[in-house]
């Protein structure tokens, strides 16, 4: 919410221009991919009407133009731009969430949803929380069990399961 604030002391924060240019470049590339793929499937008319690339072609053009504009502006004002994206300490906090989150998502294909969920909750409570081992274990183990009961038993929606669930016979 306070990204617009003026730059504080130098070195303590990531400037906004880098991420700004990076995201704009990414969107520009996506726009170009859309244009190229639309040209592949055809943007002109066939006997039965417009072909598949007809509409996406316009979309790709507008996406490239608008993000190209943002990229250009970020590059042109590269030197005088002093707005900050985030302080490094804040980015560390984000990483403290983003890294375990990524590991969690990466573990889901092998272990199913329940076990990584319990590990994520347990890790977080131990690492960042103040509760004891008992509370941590209770929350980490009970939450997936509650969700297991709600989804698999009550709503009959099966969730992804791994070796532990198979061993338990589900």
């Amino acid at each position: 919410m306070s990204t617009e604030s003026e730059a504080p002391g130098p070195g303590a924060a990531l400037r906004r221009r880098g991420p700004e240019a990076g995201v704009a470049l990414l969107l520009l590339v996506i726009g170009l991919i859309v244009i190229i793929d639309s040209l592949r499937v055809g943007i002109e008319w066939a006997d039965d009407g417009p072909r598949a690339g007809y509409f996406p072609f316009f979309i790709g053009c507008l996406l490239s133009l608008s993000s190209g504009w943002t990229l250009l502006r970020a590059l042109l004002s590269w030197r005088e731009e002093t707005a900050i994206f985030s302080e490094y300490s804040q980015l560390r906090d984000v990483a403290a969430m983003a890294i375990p989150l990524t590991i969690f998502v990466a573990a889901v294909p092998w272990l199913g949803l329940y076990v990584p969920g319990a590990l994520l909750i347990g890790y977080f409570m131990r690492r960042h929380g103040t509760g004891g081992w008992l509370a941590t274990l209770a929350v980490a183990i009970c939450t997936p069990i509650v969700f297991f009961l709600i989804f698999e038993r009550w709503f009959l929606v099966p969730l992804a399961k791994g070796p532990l669930e198979a061993w338990l016979g589900f």
């Binding site: 991420p19 889901v108 929350v139």
Partner: protein
């Protein structure tokens, strides 16, 4: 009075025992979602949507729309007691709500907020009751060009009314359209942008996008802002409620103004968030004692809450009648309609009378019940926020992952949720608006097919979009809105030049 009869019939649908039960469950879940960071109206509904696939559509929409009302109510609790807006549209409520709580007047502020929400929603539902059938009848005559013109107006008004930079609004919207185009083209059956990956065949599901952008993105932003839940506690008793109600009567002008702003912003897809800010600003401008705003003025709670609820509720009007949602949450509900096998749009009022009027009746009931529920249960919700964030955050991520998985029982979707989450974080930090992205993703296929059908009708000529007065004026209005930011930029440029001339 056709509408009254239909509405009475609707009440008979909504007032059956299971539906009242779903209503209560929806409201309680909704307030919970509104209170918790990282879960909001849009992604809360998105996560629960797969659970309703097997339900009767009327009960499902009653429950899901009640989650939406509950989330609207819940946002006010965190903003007033904790100075943390649980929802973007309750940011403006913190300006005066939290100072009031600090002065020990939390109960008054909460009562005012809930009552204003109720009033805003009530008038918006009244508007839906009487305007929706008219609009639907009118829209029955619409052909593809008219639908495309309305969709065009929707998207242009984002660019014209958004607080975010117009080029970024456009980029976010086009990104949404591009994602919507991935997969099989419904007309020619050709594959677009799949690059040989089988996972891409189905395209990107907007439910996954909503869960990632709003849920995971929100958790990451919340981490960054640091979490110190230092809240005030509040207990509401009956006397405070009565006294506050008496006091609120003198703000009838604010109520009327905020309802009008809210309904307008909800029907045109400005959404609840800008409506609440606009209404707050107008109230301050109109007030005699401008200085008291921001330091704990009840009127500063009334104005944004009324407008946010009016906008949030009236966002369902274009969704039901034209199939065009006025807010991200309405977009998710629209997606639900499609999944339950109902085609949103004017025909809904002809073919699915039970569904439509049951929903409208449930809006009246849901808001009355919601008001009573939140007034009586505030202390409990405040207690939930005292659960430490290291417990809440991973549980919410777990819930989001389950929600993403259940949409298609696909693990690839969980990965996509993470990707969208990173996008959500970056977009939020760089001021790309998320609402147009989601709406474009939902409406992409519809907009494309109405555009292509129009082109077929006219054999490729764009003249079809000015061929009659209705299409022509919708298009003219769209272009006006599209150019609106340019007018502002021009004015700023001239002012700068004048200032420079003056200085030299």
């Amino acid at each position: 009075m056709d509408e009254i009869n239909s509405l009475m019939h609707g009440f008979s649908v909504a007032l059956t025992l299971p539906n009242v039960g779903f209503m209560l469950v929806g409201l309680l879940l909704g307030v919970l979602i509104g209170v918790l960071p990282g879960l909001g109206g849009a992604n809360g509904v998105a996560i629960l949507l797969p659970l309703t696939f097997s339900m009767n559509p009327t009960s499902a929409i009653i429950m899901l729309s009640c989650i939406y009302w509950g989330a609207l109510f819940g946002g006010a609790i965190t903003s007033i007691l904790f100075n943390i807006p649980g929802e973007p549209w309750s940011v403006a409520t913190t300006f005066d709500g939290f100072p009031l709580a600090q002065q020990g007047r939390a109960a008054e502020a909460l009562t005012a907020a809930f009552t204003s929400s109720f009033v805003g929603a009530l008038f918006a539902v009244l508007a839906i009751t009487f305007l929706a059938p008219l609009l639907a009848k009118f829209a029955l005559e619409f052909g593809p060009p008219e639908f495309f013109a309305v969709q065009m107006l929707t998207f242009c008004s984002f660019i014209g009314m958004s607080k975010e930079p117009p080029m970024k609004t456009l980029a976010a919207m086009m990104f949404g359209f591009a994602l919507a185009a991935v997969g099989m083209d419904t007309v020619t059956g050709q594959l677009r942008m799949t690059f040989g990956f089988t996972e891409m065949l189905k395209g990107f599901d907007f439910l996954i996008a909503v869960i990632g952008l709003f849920g995971i993105g929100e958790i990451l932003t919340t981490m960054e802002e640091g979490l110190a839940f230092k809240g005030k506690s509040a207990k509401i008793n009956f006397r405070v409620v009565l006294n506050t109600w008496k006091e609120l009567l003198q703000y009838w002008r604010t109520f009327i103004r905020s309802v009008l702003i809210g309904c307008w912003m909800g029907i045109t897809p400005g959404g609840a968030t800008p409506a609440s800010f606009m209404s707050y600003g107008m109230a301050r401008r109109a007030a005699k004692d401008k200085e008291s705003f921001g330091r704990g003025n009840i009127e500063g709670v009334v104005a944004p809450e009324t407008a946010a609820h009016a906008a949030g509720t009236s966002a369902l009007l274009p969704m039901l009648t034209l199939g065009i949602p006025g807010s991200p949450t309405a977009a998710v509900l629209l997606g639900g309609l499609l999944i339950w096998g109902l085609q949103p749009g004017p025909l809904l009022f002809v073919e699915q009378k039970d569904f439509v009027w049951g929903l409208i009746a449930s809006m009246y009931l849901g808001n009355i019940v919601g008001l009573i529920v939140v007034l009586t249960t505030v202390p409990w919700w405040a207690a939930i926020l005292r659960i430490p964030f290291p417990v809440i955050a991973p549980v919410i991520i777990f819930i989001c992952a389950i929600g993403a998985y259940t949409v298609h029982s696909s693990i690839f979707d969980v990965v996509m949720m993470l990707v969208f989450g990173v996008f959500g974080y970056l977009f939020k930090k760089l001021r790309y608006p998320l609402a147009p992205l989601v709406l474009a993703l939902v409406l992409g296929d519809m907009a494309e097919s109405s555009f292509r059908q129009s082109m077929l009708l006219s054999q490729g000529g764009l003249g079809i979009f000015v061929s009659n007065w209705l299409v022509g004026s919708l298009m003219a209005l769209s272009i006006f809105l599209l150019l609106l930011p340019m007018w502002g930029a021009l004015k700023a440029m001239f002012r700068r030049r004048e200032a420079r001339a003056y200085l030299s």
